[in-house]
Amino acid sequence: QQQVKQSPQSLIVQKGGISIINCAYENTAFDYFPWYQQFPGKGPALLIAIRPDVSEKKEGRFTISFNKSAKQFSLHIMDSQPGDSATYFCAASMPRPDNARQLTFGSGTQLTVLP
């Protein structure tokens, strides 16, 4: 119940195309869903995040779509650029009794945008 399933494992897109990464969860206690972008040798960087009371959030070329009833959410990268080539992780967060947050990560998607 703690898992977050992410697909695809790898994705190759032409420059200017749309990249779509999907995630699914089981535990309804998750209340916050961030996406992280990680370049080789670097720490993950928070990219965009959504709360379950919102069905869509857009920031520039990045959009999260959230389907609460299906327990699924996805990241759409519009007009994909070679600089977007990185590993993307979805995550789901829930509160702990001690005021910390439990962040459960998907397995990651390696995105390659061809020039």
Partner: protein, 118 residues
């Protein structure tokens, strides 16, 4: 603004040697601190987290330990490294408390330490 530092950036250690990785956060007080490990080509596994000085919670029983001697300092240690301890170690922080009714405490990651155990 908040900044998180980790050192060293890379480390090569022989099996059986001790380990000490350090993480410090600037620009915030009373943060929650986290240690993650990332195996090559895989996701992130939470190892330890801390909600305050001297308060450590362990997620995965293993060869490692963590300590928080100061509010914004988090240390990952081992007395004797194993080959399986190799990986990319990431420290993260989040706001410890918030005056907002609904705060989701985003976690922000440091640059990481690449550990190779030979």
């Amino acid at each position: 603004s908040q900044t998180i530092h980790q050192w060293p950036a890379t480390l090569v250690q022989p099996v059986g040697s001790p380990l000490s990785l350090e993480c410090t956060v600037e620009g915030t007080s009373n943060p929650n601190l986290y240690w993650y490990r990332q195996a090559a080509g895989r996701g992130l596994q939470l190892l330890f987290y801390s909600v305050g000085i001297g308060q450590i919670s362990s997620e995965v029983p293993q060869n490692l330990s963590a300590s928080r001697p100061q509010d914004r300092q988090f240390i990952l240690s081992s007395k004797k490294l194993l080959l399986s301890d190799s990986g990319f170690y990431l420290c993260a922080w989040s706001a410890g408390t918030s005056s907002l009714m609904r705060s989701y405490n985003e976690q922000f990651f440091g640059p990481g330490t690449r550990l190779t155990v030979l």
